[in-house]
Subunit: 362 residues, 2 copies
């Protein structure tokens, strides 16, 4: 069991990483026995994990209840939030309630956002069950839901009081979902840590086989990087924006194709390739680096071509709604080398269109 | 023109109070000329004030747009929020947008909440146009909307960057709305400031005639009290809760009778009388004080009887959903003398039912 602390000005919280952690819950559980707990999970996960989790939680908390949502990115919206809030009010859950997100990034984002607006803010705990949520979505307090017109357009910053990352959850995760999570892992390597990128290249086979020790090391490094960045810039005024590498294009693809049809990590993989191609024009980012990135994504079974049925010009309106747009000026995160990235603004649309076209399969 | 500053750990902001302030906008306007501004107002206020306000705003900001909502407490809900967010996305408003609330507490609460969750939080400015919003709702960053099952159940703490209180707005306010605002004014006197209570008693005739100098003094004192309390306890962990005096019962009445049918201040007046009667049992709060409170509310043309068609037992489920309930234990704000109040917990239901019954007209 390892602990990484996210240190913030107002409050700090631990990320606990390990295998079979729920046995040791009382060693790090922040609630009192009588505190009320409401678990939020989905229809896929409930039959697999809910009973076991409740069994362990009962040892540290008496009052445990749950809400089971439908599964999928397309339910990450305001209407699901309203459904959760209604249940909480109907069942008389007060400000002293703690929500628990048991699931992937979708459940985590929904639960965190519900917690942030119920009675002007209640506590929540993240129990991420996908690789993507364990390395990225569960940490740092970005919460929110999608709008038909744009991904993650509605949300807030609301930090969890605890994150529990148990790699045992990954056993049942589909290969496709594992790959999706790896896109965010590779993102950390490209934008923040060259050595980590090299390490991923070297260990990609073990990773894809979910070797336990390798996975703990991988997740720990991602959590360290993310915690450090969130410590520096909780509300994304500066350096945290670098974590959005590839995401401007990813969100355009996800919104246009329809939420859930393309996995978040798959869209991020394509987005990173497009951004790398723009970097080549903007700052002479090496072609050889682009090749290495594409190769690693390929080994991870991630898509490396932008969707054929989405014309390059189609991206523009989505891109101009990106949260990084200021004064009608698009800002993009571009790598300068493997392990470093910078924010660029005012990039020529023709350069962007070109990079998208070059990223489509011939 | 007078300025009161709300000082918070993260950010501070000014409350500007006066008459005809918009002439002098450039003296205190926090935005740059090119910054985008979206005014939120309602159908009643738009024909009266919107054109004039835009005329003045155009001198300090080039990009001004507006959204006109239907008028009424019953539109203070998630669906109106969704409507605002949709418009903002459709029109490509980014994180660099500032929302302006031009209206009473309903518009202020809606606008602040929309600002708090659009793209994880954008700036907003309060231009309160009712007495209630000028003395209370526009200050302190409580934002939110109602749920069918409970008032202000959904929301967040999100502070404005500026509050502009111009008493010229009050000229067209109906007598009933003026009285409604006075309920919150009297609340400050009972819970925090005996001298202010005495001052209100003495000046009630001038107040009801909206004497300008008297109104500026009244509003300034309310803003001072509220700013001081918010400075001490932004997120209502302690002393700020005292401002909820009367509100547990008020919210029960408003939710049960139907949002908008009874004005917020009217419900607060009744709630304060019920709470004062409970105080008599719990801490020997003087009958003579209760008589003084009732008399002042009566001179203010506020209702002094609990609604006849709402049985005392009907209050209980609403009361138990109050945001101050912890561990199924109700907490109530009760006056100990005129000018002081305290939080009491674990009050006998029979004592509450009695106080409600005693507050109904025979
Ligand atoms: N808040 C943030 O900082 C942040 C960061 C990155 C991504 N995200 C968001 O996260 C979401 C994507 O998260 P995700 O990739 O975890 O998707 P997801 O939550 O949809 O989970 C993927 C699928 O795997 C299933 N699943 C989850 N855990 C499982 C397990 N242990 N075994 C078997 N199946 C399991 C889920 O039911 C779902 O069908 C996106 O909405 C994205 O925007 C948020
Ligand atoms: N956020 C807080 O801290 C806080 C504090 C107190 C009350 N509130 C909320 O405020 C709301 C009540 O606010 P309110 O009493 O201002 O009601 P309101 O906003 O509904 O305004 C009352 C009526 O007066 C009209 N009006 C507004 N300004 C006018 C003017 N200058 N001239 C003529 N008509 C005008 C409005 O169109 C409306 O019909 C409630 O929802 C309450 O919960 C919030
Ligand atoms: Zn992501
Ligand atoms: Zn009030």
């Amino acid at each position: 069991m390892e602990t990484i602390t996210v240190k913030l000005t107002k409050n700090s919280y631990p990320i606990i990483i390990g295998k079979g952690l729920f046995q040791y819950l009382k060693n790090f559980w922040p609630l009192k026995k009588g505190d009320k707990v409401m678990i939020i999970t989905n229809k896929t996960l409930a039959p697999i994990f809910l009973e076991k989790i409740i069994f362990f939680l009962k040892k540290v908390n008496e009052k445990i209840d749950y809400i089971i949502l439908p599964d999928g990115e397309k339910y990450k919206n305001l209407s699901t939030i309203n459904q959760i809030l209604t249940t909480l009010i109907q069942k008389n859950y007060g400000r002293d309630t703690t929500l628990i997100a048991l699931g992937g990034g979708v459940i985590g984002d929904i639960t965190g956002f519900a917690a942030s607006i119920y009675q002007r803010g209640i506590n929540f705990i993240q129990i991420p069950t996908t690789l993507l949520a364990q390395v990225d979505a569960s940490i740092g307090g970005k919460t929110g839901v999608n709008h038909d017109l744009g991904k993650n357009m509605i949300g807030s910053f609301h930090q969890p009081i605890l994150v529990i990352i148990d790699i045992n959850f990954l056993k049942l995760l589909s290969a496709r979902e594992l790959s999706s999570g790896m896109a965010e892992v590779i993102k950390y390597g490209i934008t923040f840590d060259q050595n980590f990128f090299l390490w991923i290249e070297k260990n990609i086979n073990k990773i894809m086989k979910i070797n336990k020790l390798t996975m703990v090391n991988l997740i720990r490094r991602c959590c360290e990087i993310k915690a450090k960045i969130v410590n520096q810039d909780e509300t994304e005024k500066n350096s945290r924006a670098l974590l959005n590498f590839g995401h401007t294009f990813a969100h355009a693809i996800e919104t246009h194709i329809g939420y859930g049809k393309c996995l978040h990590g798959e869209a991020v993989a394509i987005g990173m390739i497009i951004a790398s191609r723009i970097a080549k024009i903007m700052n002479n980012f090496c072609e050889s680096n682009i090749v290495r990135i594409i190769k690693l994504l390929q080994l991870t079974n991630l898509p490396i071509y932008a969707p054929k049925n989405m014309q390059s010009s189609t991206y523009i309106p989505y891109i101009m709604r990106d949260k990084k747009v200021i004064n009608e000026k698009l800002r993009l995160i571009l790598p300068t080398s493997i392990g470093h990235a910078k924010i660029y603004s005012d990039i020529d649309h023709s350069c962007i269109l070109n990079a998208i076209q070059n990223s489509q399969e011939l």
